[in-house]
Structure formats: structure tokens, C-alpha cells
């Protein structure tokens, strides 16, 4: 891709006073692209996403690295400048549509507030824009809905309100942190289809944080897998699902209860497991996945492997991933 990325994260490290949680994460997202950041709880995926907007929890600090958005480094700009970007250039939707809205304000007023904060619009013009947005995100009867409170909305509808709020100022980047985890599966499909439609229509880049590989396969263009605070593999979705390079990626795909065809049943297929738990990464001297890896060899203990290209746009941090011939033979 020749174009300038919408967002470029370079060697980002995030730490708490006691320990470092994210180690040198780098990635970029292009216009209109949906990139998924996947990994298990505690892998640092949400922390990485929140660090982009400098919304870190108390105690956490960006210790190193750059977050380049629109030519500026968000990691160092003043809070005042940052406020202009939050909700305007970059916006965020969260997992919990039940608690993200103020229960004592009508939803229309809450969406209008964002618009008036960033754009010089009259009340009437902001309301007209909100009604337009409600229509865009599939909230029926926008006039009636404008004056209702969050408790009048179902979970799926509240998430639509959050999405309307997030796209209100035509952001270049939308960060969606587990946007459908709290929703029923039929509603999940609707909300993901909506996000998919919006990023195409508005040419908006989407950083999707999820733990659901099904969602990744169905809706994302590219995927970055995180393990113990590091990106271990980043690949186009098609390639990731057909030939994952990192043993952790393979482990995740193999331990899934569905093989895509869905013919697996406990009576005829034993699920493969990734042995142990992520806690072992803290003690690892070399590769942080080495204590759980089935394919570990001597060099794995020698030091943390670098993210290296398997082919263009496809990187993995595994010292065995570079040799394609050997890898296919070994992991088949």
C-alpha cells in the first residue's frame, strides 16, 4: 500500500509502576480498512487501543514510542490539542452500551452535544444532523427516538446510538473495543454489518478489538494477534486463517470448537489445547510464548524474536516462521 496510513503506531510501550504491560507494539491502519486486534484477556489489546487516545487507566503510562495520526504524535501533544482530536478525528465505542450513556439525558441531546463540541452548529442544525445520523445507523422513527432516554432503548439500539455518536464528526479512525461482546448473536451480526457499511461509506478506518475469531474472519481485512503485550503475528485475514505462522495463532485456531465447516463433535474430535497459561510469559527469558509452545527449539530461549516479514504485509515473531519450507513441513 502506497498511501499514507491513517494511524501509525511505532514501538509503543505502556507500563504500570510494577511492570511493563505492552512491549514495543507497531502497526498501521489505512483509510477504510478494518483491522482486528485479537488476543486473550490481559494481552494488552485494550491498553494499546486506549493509549492511542491517551485514555489509560490510573498508573499506566506511555513509556516509549509514537502514535502518529494526521502528522502529529498523539503521545506527546498537549491535552488541549488532544481534546480536539478525541471524538472528532478519532472516536471510540465501548463494549458496554448499558453504561456508556447518561441515563438522565435524552439520547438526542447526548449525540448533539458531541457535534456542538466540535463543530460550530446551532442547536437546530445539530438536531437535524442527529436525525440524519439516527437514520444512517438504522434507528427507526428518529424524531420520536431523539427525545427518549437510554432506558427506552434495547442493548442493540443503544449500541447504534453509541455508533451514531462515534461517527457524528466523520472521524478518520474509529476504535471499537469489543463492540458486540455484550450483545446477542443475531444483534451482533446487525451491529457488525452496520460498522462494515459505515466504514465503506465514510472511508473510515476501524480498529476492532475482539477476542472472537469468528467476528475477525467475517468482517475484518487484517488481523494483529497479541500475546503477553506483544504483537506476535499480523496478516491479511485470508492468509491468517489459511496458514497462520506463529504457533500461538495456530493454537488459537486449532483450539476453536468450530473448524469453519462445523463438523466437529466431542465424540469424534478432541480439541487441541494450548498448555499452561499466560502467566508463564513473565518468567520467560527468550520468546514469551516459549513456555507454552509445542515447537520450541534452542534459539527460542535466546531472546525475544523480532517481528519479521513472512511476505509483504505479513509478519510474525517466531524464529521458525521465516523458513517457509521448514515451517510447512514441521507444522503440518
Amino acid at each position: 500500500m502506497k498511501t499514507v496510513p491513517v494511524l501509525e503506531v511505532l514501538d509503543l510501550a505502556i507500563g504500570f509502576p510494577a511492570a511493563r504491560a505492552v512491549h514495543g507494539v507497531s502497526f498501521e491502519i489505512h483509510k477504510g480498512e478494518m483491522m482486528a486486534l485479537v488476543g486473550e484477556s490481559g494481552c494488552g489489546k485494550s491498553l494499546t487501543a486506549f493509549a492511542i487516545m491517551r485514555l489509560l487507566p490510573p498508573g499506566a503510562r506511555i513509556q516509549n514510542g509514537q502514535v502518529i495520526f494526521d502528522g502529529t504524535d498523539l503521545a506527546t501533544i498537549s491535552p488541549r490539542e488532544l481534546r480536539r482530536i478525541r471524538g472528532n478525528g478519532i472516536s471510540l465505542i465501548l463494549q458496554e452500551p448499558m453504561t456508556s450513556l447518561n441515563p438522565v439525558l435524552t439520547v438526542g441531546v447526548q449525540v448533539a452535544e458531541i457535534i456542538r463540541q466540535h463543530q460550530n452548529l446551532s442547536r437546530a442544525a445539530a438536531k437535524a444532523r442527529v436525525l440524519e445520523l439516527f437514520d444512517l445507523v438504522g434507528i427507526t422513527e428518529p424524531h420520536k427516538r431523539y427525545d427518549q432516554y437510554p432506558h427506552n432503548f434495547s442493548g442493540g439500539m443503544r449500541q447504534r446510538v453509541m455508533i451514531a455518536m462515534a461517527v457524528a464528526c466523520n472521524p478518520a479512525l474509529l476504535i471499537a473495543d469489543e463492540p458486540t461482546t455484550a450483545l446477542d448473536v443475531t444483534i451482533q451480526a446487525q451491529v457488525m454489518d452496520l460498522l462494515d457499511k459505515l466504514r465503506r461509506e465514510l472511508s473510515m478506518a476501524v480498529l476492532l478489538i475482539t477476542h472472537d475469531l469468528g467476528v475477525v474472519a467475517q468482517w475484518a481485512d487484517r488481523v494483529a494477534v497479541m500475546y503477553a503485550g506483544r504483537i506476535v503475528e499480523t496478516a491479511p485475514v485470508q492468509k491468517f486463517f489459511s496458514a497462520p505462522q506463529h504457533p500461538y495463532s495456530m493454537g488459537l485456531l486449532n483450539s476453536s470448537v468450530s473448524n469453519g465447516e462445523g463438523a466437529w463433535h466431542y465424540t469424534n474430535h478432541r480439541l487441541s489445547e494450548i498448555k499452561g497459561s499466560v502467566a508463564s510469559a513473565a518468567q520467560a527469558t527468550g520468546c514469551s510464548f516459549a513456555p507454552r509452545c509445542r515447537h520450541v527449539i534452542a534459539p527460542c530461549h535466546g531472546g525475544q524474536p523480532k517481528l519479521e516479514a513472512v511476505e509483504k504485509g505479513w509478519l510474525a515473531t517466531c524464529c521458525r516462521a521465516q523458513n517457509q519450507e521448514e515451517r510447512i513441513h514441521e507444522f503440518a
Binding site: L213, Q218, W219, F241, S272
Partner: protein, 312 residues
């Protein structure tokens, strides 16, 4: 004779006069050694169903039979001895373990409650079961906060098994766990089933997990069973429009497999707002006039395959 048989079970919530049935006329059986999966979206009554079978929630009608014996009207003492044969594994491995009890104590408590007096015997069982769920003996002196989510779920399973039950009611046992841990727990449940000839009532919102783990499946919608079939049939030939929509909505981990012509469903109604006709009427892509006024009953559409739809 079925291990468990539930007939026309009703559970209601809410004050008198404005109550509604969260479980409304549910019937099914669990045979010895069988895994029954119960699926449905939030609010369909699947968790209420599980708890009411143990009579942790009082029923409003219907009968529950364990080995043919009606346990619906049993008093507290009599029910205790039945609960020994039916135990529960909960979703939340963080909230369901007493933080102030060591694991050894946690496993000892149910045996004392059920009057297993011999201390040596209790200790022997504890050591045996902790090994069976794949945890070291040293775990017994440690406390819940020292364990990860997956380990805590193993402890929850050990506690459920310590009374040597015949039936485990598992309410979303792997939903709170990471993918790599989920497969460990499912493998463990598979092994334990074989070893102790257990039956499971496996309640989950995750259709992929149920497809993998259940022998027969019950699909619930707003308190009713809308479809029931063995796992192969249900995925090969779903008859109810709700089941079809539900299966189509599950994202499969294979790029490009998404069906963009999948039926679009509206939002779910509340069980309290149920009207005279089919409960799925307002979301159904196939709804006819008849569906608005006449509630379909669960009828057999094929051998071992039932659906509650006029047009199935």
C-alpha cells in the same frame, strides 16, 4: 426410564397480577450419559430453567422427575438428598467461590452439608477429585484468588463432582474463559463424562460450543422450546425460522463464508409483553396472519425432531 424428565415446567417472575412466565411450558428428558444443550439468546429463560430444575427457583407449574420420582413438591430435607445427585457449575468462576475458604475447605463444605461424617473418607475424596480435574494437591491449601479463571472453573467443577452426582447442570461454564482455556475445560468435561458416566444439561448462548458438545439440543425463545433435535439434524435441517436465523448469525472463523442474504431480524420482544400468537411473530420473516393469533405447539416434524412453528 429417563434420568431427568421435565414436563410442562413453568416458572414465573414478577408481582401477582403482573407476573409473566420466564419458563413457559417446557418439556424434555435427559437420558443417562447424555448431554442436552440448551441454547437461546439472553432472556429466553435458559438459566432460569437450569436453576428451577434444582429448585433453586420455585416452579409455578409442571413436574420435574428424577429417575421417575416427582421431586416438584419435595420439602427442604427431602430435596437435599436429590440435590446430591444433581449439581451445578456456574458461569462466573470468580463470583461462585467463597474467597475466604481454602480450596480444601471449599470441597469439604458440600460433603459436610450432606452429612458425610467420616473425615478420612472426605479427605480421600477431596484428594481424588482435585487430581481428576487436573490440579496439583498443593492447591488444596490455597485460596481462590491465587488461581486463574480456567483453574477456578476446574475448582467449580471439582466442587460439583465431589458429591458424585449423576447430572451436572452447567450454566455457561466456558463463556467467561479465554479461547485457549475454553478448549481445556471442554476436554476436561468430556473426560469426566466418560469416567463418571455423567449426564449434562449444558446451557449456553454460544452455538458453536453447543454444536461441539451436545448430543441433543433444545432451542429456547422467550420461555418456550421452539425446536429440539439431535445435534446433527439441527444444524443440517433447522426447521424453525428462529433457529435458522440464529444459526445463520453465528460468525464462522473462515473468511468469505458470511451469507449476506441471511434473514434480518428485528429486536427481541420482552417475555412480559408476549401476546396471543407465536412469540416470534414480530421478528419472523415468514410470518402469516395465523401466526398473530394462534400460538404454535411443539410438534414432531420428523423422528426425534420437534418444532413449534405452523409452517415448519
Amino acid at each position: 426410564m429417563s434420568l431427568l424428565s421435565v414436563e410442562d415446567l413453568k416458572v414465573s417472575y414478577g408481582p401477582k397480577g403482573r407476573s409473566f412466565n420466564a419458563v413457559d411450558g417446557v418439556s424434555f428428558t435427559v437420558e443417562k450419559g447424555e448431554t442436552i444443550g440448551v441454547v437461546g439468546e439472553s432472556g429466553c429463560g435458559k438459566s432460569t430453567l437450569g436453576k428451577s430444575i434444582l429448585r433453586l427457583i420455585e416452579t409455578a407449574g409442571g413436574t420435574i422427575r428424577l429417575d421417575g420420582e416427582d421431586i416438584t413438591g419435595l420439602g427442604h430435607q427431602a430435596m437435599m438428598s436429590k440435590r446430591r445427585r444433581m449439581q451445578m457449575v456456574f458461569q462466573d468462576p470468580f463470583g461462585s467461590l467463597n474467597p475466604r475458604q481454602s480450596i480444601g475447605k471449599l470441597l469439604d463444605t458440600p460433603m459436610r452439608a450432606h452429612g458425610i461424617a467420616d473425615k478420612a473418607e472426605r479427605q480421600k475424596r477431596i484428594e481424588y477429585i482435585i487430581d481428576k480435574v487436573g490440579l496439583p494437591q498443593t492447591s488444596l491449601t490455597r485460596f481462590p484468588h491465587e488461581f486463574s479463571g480456567g483453574q477456578r472453573q476446574r475448582i467449580g467443577i471439582a466442587r460439583a463432582l465431589i458429591l458424585r452426582p449423576d447430572l451436572l447442570i452447567c450454566d455457561e461454564p466456558v463463556s467467561a474463559l479465554d479461547l485457549s482455556i475454553q478448549s481445556q475445560i471442554l476436554n476436561l468435561l468430556t473426560d469426566l463424562k466418560a469416567e463418571f458416566s455423567l449426564s449434562y444439561l449444558f446451557i449456553s448462548h454460544d452455538l458453536s460450543v453447543v454444536r461441539y458438545f451436545a448430543d441433543r439440543v433444545i432451542v429456547m425463545y422467550l420461555g418456550r422450546v421452539v425446536e429440539t433435535a439431535d445435534h446433527e439434524t439441527l444444524w443440517r435441517d433447522p426447521r424453525h425460522p428462529y433457529t435458522r436465523a440464529l444459526l445463520a448469525a453465528v460468525p464462522i472463523p473462515r473468511p468469505g463464508s458470511r451469507k449476506h442474504d441471511a434473514p434480518i431480524l428485528g429486536e427481541r420482544q420482552s417475555a412480559a409483553a408476549a401476546s396471543a400468537g407465536c412469540r416470534f411473530y414480530q421478528r419472523c420473516p415468514m410470518a402469516q396472519n395465523r401466526c398473530a393469533t394462534e400460538e404454535p405447539v411443539l410438534r414432531s416434524v420428523d423422528s426425534g425432531h420437534g418444532a413449534a412453528c405452523h409452517y415448519a
